[in-house]
């Protein structure tokens, strides 16, 4: 008989966020599959620690499992940061499958202090601004709250400056003119009231944010072989897709809702304009390549692999 294990799962999104019920369902399935020997408590909304610290919390055993945003910390996880570069992902569901499959090649090396259970993305977000932005040159001189450090590098490359704020603070920053624009997924705009301030929305799948569900290594190693198998069976690409799907659907639905709101302008791009954007963000990709090289990987191979996996799951741009 396996000895009972109690897991603390930590997320930093508010309790009403679609990710929490997905994780709860995942934990319930683990409990069932383990014959009740692995039970979990879910702690949402930063109850166990701040968003930025979730990787460290997993490593240190403050949480046994945690929802991690590697992009919050510039320079720390260069490989996965590549998935945060603009114009890669077309959607959230297939995109999640692709990201998870791709990152499994690098996870053990890049996140060596934890056991990476799965990786996932949200449905692509875009740039939402107080004044109209059509061309990359419009970003020059703007103050932008980026989703990740990688997006931050893109903003810098375009001649804008970065404003840091947590998601709940973002609306305030935009209202007070500390920021003029924000990169954000579509439905979350409404969740945080940001749609009250930003009236212009670039109508392209601009970027997405890669996330990881990580597990404390000692906790995993301390389990019986049968329990480890239950965890392994739940740390799969299929489960990543299952967990990410409700959130992806939620964000995907947000775009149509914003488009239907009066007083909001969806800024469409011609193929030529889209081309200008792709050209303008290229320096950020070079910067990313440098950081990957420094970490001992071949950036071209890493990026090709990501693009191929995305194509395989029909999620590339």
């Amino acid at each position: 008989q396996d000895k009972p294990v109690q897991l603390k799962i930590s997320t930093w999104v508010p309790a009403q966020h679609p990710l929490n019920p997905s994780l709860q369902a995942w934990a319930d399935d683990i409990k069932k599959a383990s014959g009740g020997t692995i039970s979990s408590s879910l702690f949402p909304s930063e109850q166990l620690g701040k968003a930025f610290d979730h990787y460290d919390m997993t490593r240190d055993g403050i949480a046994d499992l945690a929802y991690i945003s590697p992009g919050y910390q510039p320079g720390r996880f260069p490989v996965i940061a590549g998935a945060a570069l603009p114009f890669l992902f077309a959607n959230g569901k297939g995109g999640t499958a692709a990201l998870d499959e791709w990152y499994r090649q690098y996870a053990a090396k890049e996140m060596k202090d934890i056991k990476v259970c799965m990786a996932f993305v949200h449905d692509p977000g875009s740039l939402h601004s107080v004044k109209k932005v059509t061309l990359p040159t419009d970003v020059k001189g703007m103050k932008v709250r980026p989703a990740t450090a990688t997006v931050g590098q893109v903003i810098t490359a375009l001649g804008g400056t970065n404003v840091q704020a947590s998601a709940p603070e973002s609306r305030d920053m935009l209202e007070r003119g500390v920021a003029d624009a924000i990169t954000f997924p579509w439905a979350s705009l409404g969740l945080f009231g940001i749609d009250k301030v930003t009236k212009f929305h670039l109508d392209v799948p601009l970027y997405t944010t890669p996330y990881v569900l990580g597990m404390n290594k000692a906790k995993y190693d301390g389990m019986s072989a049968a329990q480890k198998k239950v965890i392994d069976d739940h740390c799969t690409t299929a489960w990543a897709e299952k967990i990410a799907t409700p959130w992806a659907d939620f964000e995907f639905g947000g775009r149509a809702k914003i488009a239907a709101l009066s007083g909001h302008e969806m800024v469409k791009l011609t193929p030529d304009q889209l081309g200008q954007w792709k050209k303008a963000v290229a320096p950020a990709e070079n910067q990313w390549a440098e950081s990957v090289k420094k970490a001992g990987q071949d950036p071209a191979a890493v990026m090709n692999s990501l693009k191929q996996t995305l194509a395989k799951h029909n999620s590339g741009l």
Partner: protein, 433 residues
């Protein structure tokens, strides 16, 4: 041992350590980490200390605390409390009870720059008390009105306790500051009313002071317009969406520094003193914040707050019954500890109950700060009273409490008004958009 038992032992040891004068933040941190270590393991507990300490002190939004403290320090060290009192007195002093009203008004003006109730009381114990005594005001009234007037410091923005409440409950600091304005002005008006009733009932109690010429009155205004303009600029900018709370504090500190230097009221030594005072007091507050977070993580894994919420909401007392219970608890705690410690220790536990009952979090912030401030002046012990006594040695506690009783009654009445009409607190923040 069950996690409930661990939580209980935690609370008991916390109180013992605090009564043995271990700094509140250190006691909370020590107990929190010990309990956490027992439940989760030693290694994660040690990591939690470093992580929580570093994350808390490098949180940009928390910068609001040292910045407003620095603004208050620059303004008060440049002598504005005396000028405020002199100006108010020149208009009101010749009336019966006028010196008392002038004290309340000057406290209100000072409160608009200084974030602390105890500092306001201490300042005016030095400035206004001797004047009131000189014109034959009784000791009890003179000290009582200062104790009460001091509480305006925490209600009118900026307010350190309101900022800390906002941080703990993840509410908007700017909105809480705005929510304090109308209740603070109501308090000021009700204190003035209390004094005029006292004058009616006992005409000989508060003699008239000396009359001042209009020329002198306007000369007095010349001294106070600058800090009051600074206040209007900072709070107006916050309300109008020009800057974030941290930025408002930074602008206020920068403005107060420039005003002090340009008006030749800040020497090099005074600048250093103001910087140091802001640093020390901010460090003291952050120590408590870090301790409270560590204690909070411990409580989270014991799941005591959830259980307490279920218990209290299941009592069948109704929303207002539970609210009354909470407020009585605060009045009792008011005999033990100061406002900051009370807020930090109890809000993480009480807040889930309050939101579960459907009360507005901004409104509750105002109610809780009013209750806690009442604790600072009501008998048998209270922080404002201690501080006034430490400034004016001739007073006894019973004398001060005797003088404060009319104002305690006023405050209780104001609490009832605020509970009946939440709009008084919520009107301005709702306008902010």
């Amino acid at each position: 041992m069950s996690s409930d038992a661990v939580a209980l032992i935690g609370f008991v040891s916390l109180f013992v350590l605090m009564l043995l004068r271990v700094p509140v933040g250190m006691a909370m941190g020590l107990v929190g980490i010990t309990g956490y270590s027992y439940l989760t393991g030693f290694a994660p507990a040690m990591k939690l200390i470093g992580q929580t300490s570093m994350r808390t002190v490098t949180d940009y939004t928390f910068g609001v605390i040292p910045m407003f403290m620095l603004m208050g320090a620059f303004v008060s060290i440049s002598g504005v409390s005396k000028e405020l009192f002199r100006a108010a007195n020149s208009f009101l002093g010749h009336l019966k009870g006028g010196l008392g009203v002038a004290t309340v008004v000057a406290c209100g003006g000072f409160a608009a720059i200084c974030g602390s109730s105890v500092a306001t009381a201490a300042t005016f114990a030095g400035v206004a008390y001797p004047e009131m005594r000189r014109y034959g005001y009784p000791k009890s009234f003179s000290s009582g009105v200062i104790a009460a007037g001091g509480t305006l410091g925490a209600m009118l923005p900026p307010s350190t306790v309101l900022a800390v409440y906002a941080i703990i409950t993840q509410q908007d600091i700017g909105k809480l500051f705005m929510a304090g304005i109308l209740p603070g002005m109501l308090a000021l008006a009700m204190y003035v009313l209390t004094i005029s009733i006292l004058v009616r009932v006992r005409p000989d109690l508060l003699p008239a002071g000396k009359a001042t010429s209009w020329g002198e009155r306007f000369r007095g205004l010349k001294d106070v317009w600058a800090p009051l303009t600074l206040f209007a600029f900072v709070i107006g900018g916050l309300y109008g969406g020009l800057f974030t709370p941290t930025e408002a504090g930074g602008m206020g500190a920068g403005g107060a520094f420039l005003l002090g230097v340009l008006r030749r009221k800040l020497s090099r030594a005074q600048i250093r003193e103001a910087l140091l005072q802001a640093t020390r007091t901010s460090a003291a507050v952050f120590t408590v914040l870090i301790g409270a977070l560590l204690f909070g993580y411990f409580l989270t894994i014991t799941q005591v707050p959830q259980k307490l919420t279920e218990m209290l909401t299941g009592l069948g007392l109704g929303r207002y019954g539970v609210l009354a219970l909470i407020m009585v608890m605060y009045l009792v705690l008011g005999c033990l500890m100061d406002a900051m410690a009370m807020i930090i220790l109890t809000v993480p536990i009480i807040f889930p109950v309050v939101t579960a009952l459907g009360f507005d979090p901004i409104w509750f912030g105002i109610i809780i700060v009013m209750t806690v401030e009442l604790g600072l002046i009501h008998p048998p012990v209270g922080m404002n009273v201690f501080v006034i006594k430490s400034v004016v040695h001739e007073l006894s506690f019973s004398t001060i409490f005797k003088g404060v009783i009319p104002f305690v009654i006023t405050d209780l009445l104001r609490l009832v008004i605020l509970i009946a009409f939440p709009i008084i607190a919520l009107y301005l923040p709702q306008r902010m958009g």
